[in-house]
């Protein structure tokens, strides 16, 4: 129902503390955009700026082509679902959902129809007369969603809506939100979370926020397969991508690499230029893309310090080469026993080998890449 356009948006507190800057984002009607990022990256602040609960200190925010920087929240055509649900504790479920319409002086029949339709959609019909305190966490969350549905907004804003639920309920409610989105294909949604699974499963596109700016925008698999920087590479995916220091020894459509730790030459499908010859790079391989090898060509070799057998996969934590480096992690499919304390060689297919020069992916160096300058975890 509505496009959302952020142009050079920034947030400055007290004239000096810059929280967000140069936020440029085009959100199309019907998209479900997820903001992710490490704690304190400003993702909730950005959402609250869209809602109108925080002042936009620079740039413009357009909803449906209209600049709404100075429009009060209730007239922006948005509805917000809060992390704590923010239900009115003294009102019944029905009154909670009807509140905005009553404020807007809608007639009783319209209110009743809308509230009942929303309650029906969210399976809340039997709870309309209850107070929030008599509901479970998941039901409260549904009431909060129902409260936004009755307003029929152009844009739905979700601020970490599932973080107060327990693990099982979180999965169920996540699927409910996905189904709700299916039922309302025209509604635009912006969703803030710190949970990667929520981001990967719900998003049309993910916006990775960090260090006061946007690190990368793209579809979930885009970010997973083609991260533009070491930051995004390590932020998306769990456990984080391994980064191994190395050098480029052959350029072209396929790049040949030699790692500092030895192991012969491995290849990556990332293309490189002649000028890259001999350049120091970081070779990124996801733990789940690593496979064990007995051969002389390998990407990594190390002593296994800890193993975690989860049944479907076995995680190998290798001894650190130096104290300040992250431990290399391998994730092998299936069950592998007796590897602890042994030396294991790992390698990866060329299409699974990512190459970063100065923190920027070789695939993305023609476009400007924002390097957040903070640690992903």
């Amino acid at each position: 129902m509505a496009d959302l356009k952020l142009t050079d948006v920034q947030k400055v507190y007290g004239g000096t503390v810059k929280v967000l800057s140069d936020i440029n984002l085009d959100i199309k009607t019907g998209e479900l955009i997820v903001f992710v990022g490490p704690s304190g990256c400003g993702k909730s602040t950005l959402l609250r700026m869209i809602a109108g609960l925080e002042k936009i200190t620079g740039g413009t925010l357009e909803i449906d082509g209209q600049v709404v920087n100075d429009v009060p929240p209730s007239q922006r055509g948005i509805a917000m679902v809060f992390q704590s649900y923010a239900l009115y504790p003294h009102m019944t479920v029905y009154e909670n959902m009807a509140f905005s319409l009553r404020i807007a002086k809608a007639d009783a029949a319209t209110i009743d129809a809308k509230v009942r339709a929303a309650a029906d959609k969210l399976q809340l019909t039997n709870f309309l007369d209850r107070l929030p305190k008599a509901l479970s966490g998941g039901q409260r969350q549904r009431v909060a969603i129902g409260r936004s549905i009755v307003r029929d907004p152009k844009v739905y804003l979700f601020d970490e809506p599932l973080s107060n639920l327990d693990a099982a309920l979180r999965v169920a409610t996540r699927i409910e939100i996905a189904q709700l989105k299916e039922q309302m294909p025209d509604s635009t949604m912006v969703y803030v979370t710190h949970d990667q699974v929520e981001a990967m499963t719900l998003a049309t596109r993910i916006v990775v926020l960090a260090g006061g700016g946007i690190a990368q925008v793209g579809t979930p698999l885009d970010l997973y397969e083609r991260p533009n920087s070491t930051f995004v590479a390590q932020f998306i995916g769990s456990p984080a991508m391994n980064l191994l220091p190395g050098r480029i020894t052959g350029t072209g459509d396929v790049t040949t690499l030699e790692l500092d730790a030895g192991g012969g030459q491995i290849t990556s499908t990332y293309p490189s230029r002649d000028s890259d010859m001999g350049a120091a790079v970081q070779v990124g391989i996801r733990p789940e893309d690593m496979t064990a090898t007995e051969g002389d060509i390998f990407a990594f070799q190390g002593k296994v310090e800890i193993t975690e057998a989860l049944g479907e996969v076995t995680l190998l934590y290798f001894q650190k080469a130096a104290a300040d480096q992250d431990a290399v992690i391998g994730k092998l499919a299936g069950i592998h026993q007796g590897l602890r304390g042994t030396t294991v060689r790992l390698t990866a297919k060329p299409e699974k080998v990512h190459v970063f020069r100065d923190g920027v992916s070789l695939l993305h160096r023609d476009a400007p890449v924002f390097l957040p300058g903070v640690q992903p975890h």
Binding site: L53, S74, A86, Y88, P89, S100
Partner: protein, 330 residues
């Protein structure tokens, strides 16, 4: 011996005595009666733990029984046994109560008391709530709050004296009359001169004192209203008035009721203000002042009968108040 020395000695004996009591009684319990050793160590420790709280509450219970519970029963006893004249005594046990309820002055006092109960808690709570909300976001809100709260620190008699000056008939002294004269009134007017309505002028004093109390409690309660619900209401389109009356006030309603009833109990017991400002006028009399007058003139049966009436009036409010504040704690 100078007074200050006796005072200091009294305090030393009082505080020292209490310390000695707590110390010695606990030593007795732990060393002599239930020592934490020997074959019954588990049982001894358990018993000592069960008895210890009683050691600590005993002085309070003892003092309260002696000075509160016993007098209540003694008053009740006096009200049915002590009679001003043999004539009255012949009319049966409850002659004092019959006399109280047929006394026209008692009716005036009772009516005035109802006025006080109706006006003062309502006004104090409402103005206090307003003050709490209005000072909440001000940069100088804390200064404003201290000023509103300050009358709480003044004794009722002191406050009555201050307001006697405010109401003073001489425009040179009374600020109200000074204002009236500025706006063209001829000479000063006497505000408290025996009309029933004059009670209102006296109530102002108590409202002035109690507003600070209401404000402080309600201000804390308002701070406790989750910010999220307010933001949700903003997104829902509520204006500041609607946010205040439909979101904030309903959420702090339990606190408002506790403040209301607490002030009601206080109002039912108020004595000093009327005694200090309107003692010469029958029409502003309330139950406690009437009780004191009967007491002063030696009519103990009549006085205690009134005191029992006051207690019966306060009791239900008190029980409700305690229940409500307990519910709020939960």
């Amino acid at each position: 011996m100078p007074v200050i020395v006796t005072g200091a000695i009294t305090i030393l004996i009082g505080v020292g005595g209490m310390l000695a009591y707590f110390w010695l009684s606990n030593i007795l319990l732990d060393r002599v009666f239930f020592p934490a050793k020997g074959e019954n160590i588990g049982r001894n420790v358990r018993r000592a733990t069960a008895i210890r709280p009683w050691l600590f509450v005993f002085p309070a219970i003892f003092a309260l029984s002696l000075y509160l519970v016993v007098p209540v029963f003694y008053s009740a006893y006096l009200s049915v046994t002590s009679f001003a004249s043999d004539n009255l005594a012949e009319r049966g046990r409850f002659a004092n109560y019959a006399a109280v309820f047929s006394d026209p002055e008692f009716r005036i006092a009772l009516f005035n008391n109802f006025l006080w109960v109706l006006v003062v808690p309502a006004a104090s709570t409402f103005i206090g709530l307003l003050a709490a909300q209005l000072t909440d976001r001000l940069s100088w809100g804390n200064i404003a709050k201290s000023l509103v709260f300050m009358p709480m620190a003044i004794s009722f008699v002191g406050a009555s004296l201050i307001w006697s000056f405010v109401y003073h008939p001489d425009p040179e002294i009374g600020i109200l009359n000074a204002i009236r004269v500025t706006f063209g009134a001829e000479g000063g007017r006497t505000f408290i001169d025996g009309d029933v309505i004059d009670s209102l002028w006296l109530m102002v004093v108590l409202i002035w004192i109690q507003t600070g109390f209401a404000m402080v409690i309600l201000s804390a309660a308002l701070r406790g209203v989750p910010e999220d619900t307010i933001e949700a209401a903003i997104v829902d389109g509520a204006n500041p008035f609607q946010i205040f009356f439909k979101i904030k006030v309903p959420q702090i309603m339990p606190t408002i009721l506790v403040v209301w009833t607490t002030i009601t109990i206080l109002v039912l017991k108020v004595y000093d203000i009327v005694a200090a400002m309107g003692s010469q006028y029958r029409n502003v009399e309330i139950l406690p002042t009437q009780m004191m007058q009967s007491f002063d003139s030696g009519n103990y049966g009549f006085a205690t009968a009134i005191s029992i009436v006051i207690m019966v009036l306060v009791l239900p409010v008190m029980i409700w108040n305690i229940r409500q504040s307990r519910a709020e704690l939960r």
